[in-house]
């Protein structure tokens, strides 16, 4: 106690006036502050400005009012499909990704030999370059010579046209998403290891079986992390670009034309910077609304061991 008091007093004695401390603090964070102004504040405002204009990089921007927004919602024939594809993907990939990560983490959290080997195998898909993931899976799922279909053909069974069928393209992308859940898995693993052993011991004394313990201890204790991973999954899903871009290019028959692909094309293929900015703002608002709604709902299903905040 006294040592801490001393330290505080010493710190106060040395510390200068509020103004000087403020100046020093700002000096240290100044790189971020400048970057924040230049790479966040300016582009965010600027993007809002462009969203009300027609701008093709060649002529100066022409004011349209809500023209871009009206066009997107009422005149663009593909917008509805893009929204459908994106919501389909987000609503399935985020929960399934969380389940996959949670299952892996649960298995790794038992007493097993070679845990670090299994952990590495489950984790590595999350860190390989997206281009590699796309190349490997496009070959693996290839309808004629891919490992899966060539095996099926070898057995005389009919093939599965994974990414070449409009019906299966989205589920195939979700499957790959479930494969690359290393980050979420590691976060789950840490939270599983944080659950006090005494809880399980007390439950055993009370005669609970493994299933009870899983439902009434493990799951509730993990809900904060489930929420975190779910939110990350939703946000990532809304912005999903690289894998569909490389693996399916939005096809077949626009089945994987997701929001981020559509937006990218507007900006860099059709040079419609204003419309792309309007699309970005719609996406931004959708993500914020979605995240807030999820947080609101979390009061009902998330359990904070340290008391609710």
């Amino acid at each position: 106690m006294t040592a801490m008091d001393m330290a505080t007093r010493v710190r106060r004695g040395i510390s200068k006036s509020t103004g000087k401390r403020l100046a020093l603090g700002l000096a240290f964070v100044s790189p971020w502050l400048l970057g924040f102004l230049g790479f966040t504040v300016y582009p965010v405002i600027s993007s809002l400005y462009y969203s009300f204009h027609r701008y093709d990089l060649l002529r100066s921007p022409i004011f349209l009012g809500f023209g871009n927004y009206v066009e997107i919602f009422t005149k663009d024939p593909t917008f509805g499909l893009v929204v459908y594809n994106t919501i389909y993907y987000v609503l399935l990939s985020a929960p399934l990704g969380v389940i996959s990560a949670f299952l892996m983490a649960s298995l790794l959290n038992t007493e097993i030999k070679g845990r670090s080997v299994f952990r590495a195998i489950f984790f590595i898909p999350a860190i390989v370059p997206a281009v590699v993931t796309a190349m490997v899976w496009s070959f693996l799922l290839n309808v004629q010579y891919g490992a899966i279909n060539a095996t099926l053909r070898g057995l005389g069974l009919s093939t599965i046209p994974f990414i070449s069928s409009p019906r299966l393209a989205k589920p195939s992308l979700i499957l790959i998403h479930m494969w690359a859940q290393g980050n979420a898995m590691v976060i789950f693993l840490a939270s599983l290891q944080d659950i006090p052993r005494s809880l399980y011991e007390a439950a055993t004394v009370d005669g609970a079986n493994a299933w009870h313990k899983f439902w009434h201890i493990t799951i509730p204790m993990c809900t904060p992390v489930i929420l975190f991973n779910l939110i990350m999954g939703f946000i990532g899903g809304f912005q999903n670009f690289t894998l569909p871009w490389l693996l399916t290019g939005g096809g077949p028959n626009q089945a994987t034309e997701f929001y981020a692909l559509f937006l990218y094309r507007q900006a860099f293929n059709y040079m419609r910077m204003g419309k792309a900015s309007a699309l970005a703002w719609i996406l931004f608002i959708a993500i914020v609304v979605f995240t807030v709604a999820l947080f609101k709902s979390s009061a009902r299903w998330v359990y904070y061991a340290g008391g609710t905040e």
């Binding site: 964070v29 790189p31 230049g38």
Partner: protein, 307 residues
């Protein structure tokens, strides 16, 4: 319960999870251990399958690639696919671009700047600090699509297209994700050492550079590694800013190889070459992960638990 029923195995796998299970050596616990290993091994095999397929396909020639049922162990193995694929195309240049123009500059600049900012957000006391830190965290919520168009317009105006400047210069201003990670780490280091140095008249920059950074070395290395790997893996950034072949990073080069090979109907060596190049692009990431596994995984779980 047979091996052929993976879904029901999955369910029982979760049941097993609630350790401690039964009495050690009892029949029940022995069965559950066996089931747990079975499920783990089956999952591990299916998770590793794409990588195995990539490596084995990289060693095939055209007759081995288009075989039904597929060949899992190519004999003979065509090891020369690796140098051939690598040398026939400009991959050495792509790799040099990726490492020296992109990944190393970003890792160095991003780590130093994020560390300095994190120091200001954790070890200094000043009015408004926590408000600004909160602002810093919320910027992570903004989808990159919102800032993408205006930044492209600005960088284009500066004449930075077809260079790595749009991808490297922002790293000098720190990245909220790594600022957050390093701040969490700095907060775990006791203040006493810094106080002692302050009494001796050291200034803040000296304390940061000579006391804090050496103590935080593992965290700094992980942050540098994360950024190196993110740049190595990045496809979207270069896609937006770079369209001159000579400036391509590996990610764009690999995709270009695919378009080139599959463009000519079905070129026989398309897949082996593509898989050979993909294997080489994967190796540094896996090696980097392997040698830093512990700190690497701690870094990720830290952001999740304290977030």
């Amino acid at each position: 319960m047979g091996i052929a029923a993976p879904t029901s195995d999955a369910a029982s796998g979760r049941e097993i999870r609630g350790t401690p299970v039964g009495k050690p050596g009892s029949m029940r616990s022995r069965i559950s251990t066996v089931l747990r290993y079975l499920l783990l091994i089956m999952l591990a095999i299916s998770f590793f399958l794409p990588f195995y397929w990539m490596i084995s396909s990289a060693l095939k020639d055209d007759s081995q690639v288009y075989t039904v049922p597929p060949i899992w162990i190519p004999r003979p193995a065509h090891w020369n696919n690796f140098p051939d694929a690598w040398l026939q195309h400009d991959f050495i240049r792509y790799a040099v671009n990726t490492v020296f123009r992109y990944a190393i500059p970003v890792a160095l600049a991003g780590t130093v700047s994020s560390a300095v900012v994190a120091y200001g957000f954790s070890r200094l006391r000043w009015p408004g600090r926590d408000t600004l830190f909160f602002v810093c965290l919320t910027t992570m919520m903004i989808p990159f699509q919102v800032t993408m168009v205006p930044l492209f317009i600005v960088f284009r105006g500066l004449g930075w297209l077809n260079s790595y400047r749009p991808l490297v210069i922002p790293a000098f201003f720190g990245s909220p994700y790594f600022i957050f990670m390093l701040r969490q780490f700095f907060l775990t280091i006791p203040e006493e050492l810094a106080d002692a140095a302050r009494i001796d008249g050291a200034n803040e920059i000296g304390i940061m550079a000579r006391i804090m950074f050496p103590l935080a070395q593992p965290a700094l290395i992980v942050v540098a590694l994360f950024q190196f790997m993110a740049a190595w893996n990045d496809y979207f950034g270069p896609l937006v800013y770079i369209n001159r072949d000579a400036m391509y990073p590996l990610a764009l080069g690999i995709n270009q190889l695919r378009s080139a090979l599959t463009g000519i109907a079905i070129s026989p060596l398309a897949y082996p070459y593509l898989m050979a190049v993909s294997t080489v692009a994967t190796v540094p990431v896996v090696v980097g992960f392997y040698f830093t596994q512990r700190t690497f995984i701690e870094g990720i779980s830290m952001t999740g638990l304290k977030g």
